[in-house]
Symmetry: C2
Amino acid sequence: MKRKSGVALWRQIADQIRQAISAGTLGADGKLPPEMVLSERFGVNRHTLRSAIAALVQEGVLRAEQGRGTFVESRQKLSYPISARTRFSTGLRSQTRDRRSNLLAHAVEPAGKRVAEGLGLPEDAPVVRLETLSEADDRPVSRATSWFDAERFPGYAEAYAETGSITLAFQRYGIEDYFRKSTLVSARHADAADLADLKLSAGAIVLVAVAVNVDAEGVPIQYAETRFVADRVELSVSTEA
Amino acid sequence: MKRKSGVALWRQIADQIRQAISAGTLGADGKLPPEMVLSERFGVNRHTLRSAIAALVQEGVLRAEQGRGTFVESRQKLSYPISARTRFSTGLRSQTRDRRSNLLAHAVEPAGKRVAEGLGLPEDAPVVRLETLSEADDRPVSRATSWFDAERFPGYAEAYAETGSITLAFQRYGIEDYFRKSTLVSARHADAADLADLKLSAGAIVLVAVAVNVDAEGVPIQYAETRFVADRVELSVSTEA
DNA sequence: CGTATTTGTCTATTGTTCTATACAAACGAA
DNA sequence: TTCGTTTGTATAGAACAATAGACAAATACG
């Protein structure tokens, strides 16, 4: 717990409590120890600890009831599978009641260097860009930017808007099956745009997955960068033969 | 860029600059714009921006020279492959000159719930715990905690200390080959212990990989939690058939 | 009911962060 | 050298974070 580090004590404590809850070392019985106990354990004033709790209440992690105590609201992370057959919807369907994908924006534009490389197209070739937001149980879970070859998939954005699914939209172009070729996983602080879309507060972490999907012949058909809310998602990589 | 969010402005800006550098949108030519330009772009006072730069200089990301400008010191991330044949050493060997693994501590102890499940042992069965730190080019890269069945691998810690390698230590017990069965990837703020071991400052992010390795028969032989410095590492998942 | 426990609110004080302004020091180029 | 550009240092005031102490309000339990 460090002073003058650029991160307020209450936020450092909030991060620790959130993590301890998901690790099961705190609030395993559904209830947090009293504020006095916690503030002594962390070596800070009760008010500082209360700021941390207030932030977690705001996030929906905790619920405080006057006279009774502070309770854990939600514990389990969504586990998002990554394999050759990775599909967003199928992976999460079993873990959550209500899942939605919203199309925020779309455009046709020249491919940048990274996108062109990922899709195996010449630089500046026209590509369709999709900006999507996924929610589970009325909370934002991920924010993705996808690119598709505009010549092979004209009007892809409309197909996606109508079907609400990457898989179904591909079927309109005769692609019955596709595979995840590679995924690069990194993590960083959410930028201003993601902070707003994913309804996060400053300092929040996103897991970034940069993926290339290919058709049955191995030709790249989708290049995507997905930012997952790190507090609510983990990626599950199964590498069984 | 949000005020009273619990994260100091200079740290938010430092995070953004670091990210922009690794994305190539800033300092692509090796040099940063002048402080006045950047402070206006971020909408803050020049001093606030200077604090951000000072932090990045401390981290080794930037180098400031009076009268000349501020320069980018290092850009590329290490890419750590995750596949059925994942080996720590082989994956990174080609990307860095100097790689080392240090054994920080070891102990024999009863398996906790998670460890017992991962290794397929009864709860409280004796296990060997290894605490290791990996460095590349004299900078900490990852911090791992590994568990092994103490009955099947008695004295594993010593075997590891002598060989300096998980793979070589396994060979002493007749295991010529092993496979990565599953990997759970998540991200969180580094806790106090990792902050110290990995020489990070408050608010830093670690990529957490929880992995199970199995022998040729599919029996779990290692359960490990590795914390990677998110600023210096990305995980590369290849899921080709 | 009365008491202990627990969260919620208020005020005051101190230290850290951010802003504003000014000037010094090093460098590059005319 | 001289000038413009850029990083480094200093000082003072405003906004925010953390500590301290006291008390109110709701709940649980004998």
